[in-house]
Each structure stands twice: as C-alpha cells, then as structure tokens.
Amino acid sequence: MITFDKTTKTYEGNVTAVKGVDFTVEKGEIVVLLGPSGCGKTTLLRMVNRLESISDGKITIDGQDSMSLNQTALRRKIGYVIQSNGLFPNMTIEENTMIVPDLLGWSKKDKKERFQKLMEMIGLSGEKFGKRYPHELSGGQQQRIGVIRALAADPPVMLMDEPFGALDPIIREKIQDEFLQIQKEVKKTILFVSHDIDEAIKMADKIVLLRGGELMQYDTPSEMLVRPKNEFVREFFGKDRAIKSLSLHTIQDLQEMIGLAEFDDAIADTKTINVNHDLRNTLSMLLNQEADQVIVSDDDGNKLGAITIDIVQKYLHYEIKAKPAPVLEGV
C-alpha cells in the first residue's frame, strides 16, 4: 500500500511540480498516473523511491514513512521499470535480471532458479537468452526483460514509468496483456505512469488524473469516463469517452444487465462472437456491417442470443444515465 499525504514537490525558483496530492494505492492494485506532459506524473512517481526529494507532505509505504527508511534499502524493495528499459549493455541478460538479488546478496543457486522462473513467466528460454547481451534482443524482448528485472527480488511495490511507451502498437498491446496476466499471479502494488488514455483504461484499477501538479480526479476508469468530475477530465478523455468506456465492459456484462436479443436461424449471413468479447470491439464489428446477424456464444460454443447496435446503445444509456453512482471506498 502506498499513501500520498499532501505530497508536494517544489523546485528552486518556486516552480511547483506536484501540489499537495492525496491518494492511496491499495495493495495489489494498479494505479495509473495519467495527464498531459508536464503535469508532474513522472515526478510524483520518482518521489516514491526518492529519486526526487519530497518538499512537503509525505509518502508512506505499508504504513512506514518513506523518509524514515534507508534510501538504498528502500529502492531495493521497490521494483523500477523505465521507458528505455535501462538494461546495462555490459551485462548479459541473466546478469541484468539478477542485479537486485545480487545487491541483496542472494546465493548463486537462488539467483539461477529465480532467473529461470522469471524467464518462464514471459515465455522466453532462460537457457537460450541468459548469456546474450541486451543489444542482441528485439525491443519487445528488451522491455520484457526490463519488467522481470524489476520483479526479480519479488518487491511488494513496483514503479513503472511509461514502460511500454517506446514499443510499436502491436507489440505494446501484446506486452500489456502479458503483464496483466503476470499481475494476476504476482499481485504487486503498482504505480504506473502513462500518457496514453487507452493504455490507462486498459491497465488501471484506478486512474489518477493530474493537471499542473494537481489531482483532478481519482477513480476507476469507468467512473472517470462516465462521470467526469470537472470540465478538464471531460475534455481530457475526449468526445469519444462513451466509446472508450465500452472497452471496459464485456458482452456478458450487457447480458446480465439487459439480456440479448433472440437469434433467427433463418438468416444465413451470420457471425459468431464470444461472450467475453469487450463491447468496444463488438460495436466496431456491428458498425462495420460484417454480417446480417451477430450471434453470441459461450466458451463451449452454445448460442446465447444475438447482439445488435440497439442493444449496445440501450446498455450504454443505462450505464451512463440510469445507473446510480457507486460509493467508492478509499476516496
């Protein structure tokens, strides 16, 4: 758990980068720091492992004031991933990955085992890649190594500064999915900086939206999209925020809420879609007129019903207008 308590950063000459920010990252959650460039999101992240000093207020990690801890010890128990992967060219992949365990004085055997396990997690062969050097790997592979390097000593907290920002869109999406899968297993408390709205919606349990060092809104992605607190938040997510919010819901959610339409076996031009598909992609498919009828099926291939644009529209109306705002804990 990371708690920000009136955290403030002032640079020389009275430039305030972060202004009295208050929020809590719950254990096992991914909180994305989002905002336009210069909003202080990276500064705020770097204050957690004290790469930036704290001018006022405090940051507590699992109840301990970060300033009361030894700086080196603090950093070694916080995983840190940066955009340019930061792999050291003079070290092999195995050496790179095992830096923090090495600093902590792990035995050779423990390091070897841990390395193999981490490589398995990202689906790369430890045997094959261990002795290679960073420049021999592709960008996507390098970034994956950057992520497992941060996980190496199993830190409870991870800081990720635009970790997938330098990758091309296809690889980025793949690594995002992969990382969410890993997170399901390891359940780290993660603070994640991003300037990409789609990435934030996808990765975040909650989003912190910043402007000029001030916290604009702290909410779940769907709440932020559906119920923006002010004009800035509304504008930031853009006019298509309703469509964006659809990527957070699956056909299953829709079915549970308002049910699907009957399907007609007589229509020949039919396409089938899995019930776990998100509504944003489903809607695109419907708008593209890919088939006269789209049938929803479950994992076993049973037909559950049909889906139409009207139904999605009805669901959206319910989500945005009719549904009462849920009470958020911790805000």
């Binding site: 492992n49 790469l51 080196t72 010890a73 603090l74 950093r75 070694r76 916080i78 840190y80 940066i82 955009q83 340019s84 930061g86 050291f88 060219p89 003079n90 070290m91 092999t92 830096i99 923090v100 600093l103 050097y133 960073p134 420049h135 390097r149 800081l159």
Partner: protein, 245 residues
C-alpha cells in the same frame, strides 16, 4: 560496392609495395648495419626509450584516469570546465617549448624528458575518460540508482565497464604518440633512440637516421597491436562498438 573494394585493394597493395621498396633500398645501402655493428649501444638506447615511455605513461595514467573519474562525479562537475581547459592548454604548447621550459626547472636529463612526455599523455587519456563516462545514457544511471545501487557500485559496475572502450582508446593513442615524441628526449639529454636519429640528421648519415627511426616506428606499431589485444580482453562483450570484428 565492388569498385570500392577494388580501390581499397589497389591502395593497400601500393602502400605495401612502397614499404617493401623502402626496406629493399635501406638494406641494399646497409642503412640498418649500425643495429648489428653497434648492438650494445642500440639495445641500450631501446631500453632508455622504453623507460621514458613507460615511466611517463604510467604517471599520466595514474593522474589522468582518476582525474577524469573525479570531475565526472556530481560534486566536482563544476570543476570540469577549468580542468579540461587547463589540460587542453598543456597540449597546445609546442613540444620543443615544453622541453626548453622544463630544462630551466628540472635541468637536463631523463627527468625533464619524462615530465614533458607526461604532460603530453595527459590530454588524450583524460579527455577520453571524461568523454567515455559522459557518453553513458543518463537513463542507465537513473535505472541503476532506482534499483538501489550505491554510487561506487554504479561507477564500478556500470560507468567504468561501459566507458572502458573509450578510456583504453585514449590510453592507446597517448602511448603510441608518446613512443614517437620520446625521440625528442635527446634534445634535453634524455637519451633514447632519438640519439641516433639526431646524430643521423647532424652528420647526414642515413644509416644512423634509419637505424634510429625505423625501430621507433616498429615499436609504436607493435605496442599499438598489444594494446588492441588488451582492449579486446578488458572491454566487456556487450559494450564493444558493433563494427569491431
């Protein structure tokens, strides 16, 4: 592509041919004979020459590399401008002038020559150390700090290994230049193979000139080769420039 290859081959073999021709001419005229007829003196001069180079280079190494490391540390960053320009200034003074100046302070002999050579070796070593460390991606240092490396660990594990190629290139340049410049030591009575070269010039005796000059050249080429081997051993595999084969 093919045309380029042909040109490079022609140039290379013409140079080989010229060198072979030169040696043929020199041997024909018995210009290398002094090396054998006065072999005791020759080996004494070679030894002196090597001593000059060794002592001055080691001294420069001990000052320039730690100096370069020091000015790239955060608290001393501001001193870099002053130090770099002072060292640059040392290089701009003509070598003969340095020698002449030093005679008035240190007198005539070995120590004066060593001092002048030392001054000359400082700049390439120092500058390459600073440049090597400066060229390391700021993000790497940031990542290292963020992972909880102490400054000394960052220096030893990240900065020096990744700057090693540049630092060693500076050392190599300095030492090879030094071997050539050491021939001037004769002027201040420092000995070395310069003795034969200057004797040859003064007496119009090509034999002395060539018996002194060619060993200096071969020495420089040989030492350069040795230092390249050393480079290959020391520089970590991943930090070598890609074009190196």
């Amino acid at each position: 592509m093919n045309k380029k290859k042909v040109i490079s081959l022609v140039v290379r073999y013409s140079v080989y041919g010229l060198v072979a021709l030169f040696f043929f001419w020199a041997i024909r005229n018995h210009y290398f004979d002094y090396i054998f007829t006065e072999s005791t003196t020759f080996w004494h001069l070679v030894k002196q020459h090597l001593q000059l180079v060794l002592v001055s280079s080691v001294l420069a190494l001990l000052i320039a590399i730690p100096g370069g490391i020091l000015v790239t540390r955060k608290p001393f960053r501001r001193a870099e401008w002053v130090v770099s320009n002072t060292v640059n200034l040392g290089q701009t003074i003509p070598s003969l002038a340095v020698l002449a100046l030093m005679i008035s302070i240190l007198g005539i002999g070995f120590q004066t020559a060593v001092f002048a050579l030392f001054i000359y070796s400082l700049l390439p070593m120092y500058r390459n150390t600073v440049a090597g460390i400066d060229s390391i991606d700021e993000n790497l240092i940031d990542a290292a700090r963020g992972m909880g490396m102490k400054p000394i660990q960052i220096l030893l594990r990240i900065e020096l290994p990744n700057a090693a190629y540049s630092i060693l290139a500076g050392v190599r340049t300095a030492i090879v230049l030094n071997i050539g410049t050491a021939a001037l030591a004769y002027v201040v009575g420092g000995g070395g193979l310069g003795v034969w070269i200057f004797t040859g010039i003064q007496l119009f005796d090509n034999g002395y000139l060539i018996s002194g000059a060619i060993p200096v050249t071969l020495l420089a080429i040989f030492v350069d080769y040795l230092l390249r081997l050393l480079e290959r051993l020391i520089v970590p595999e991943g930090s070598k420039p890609p074009q190196e084969l």
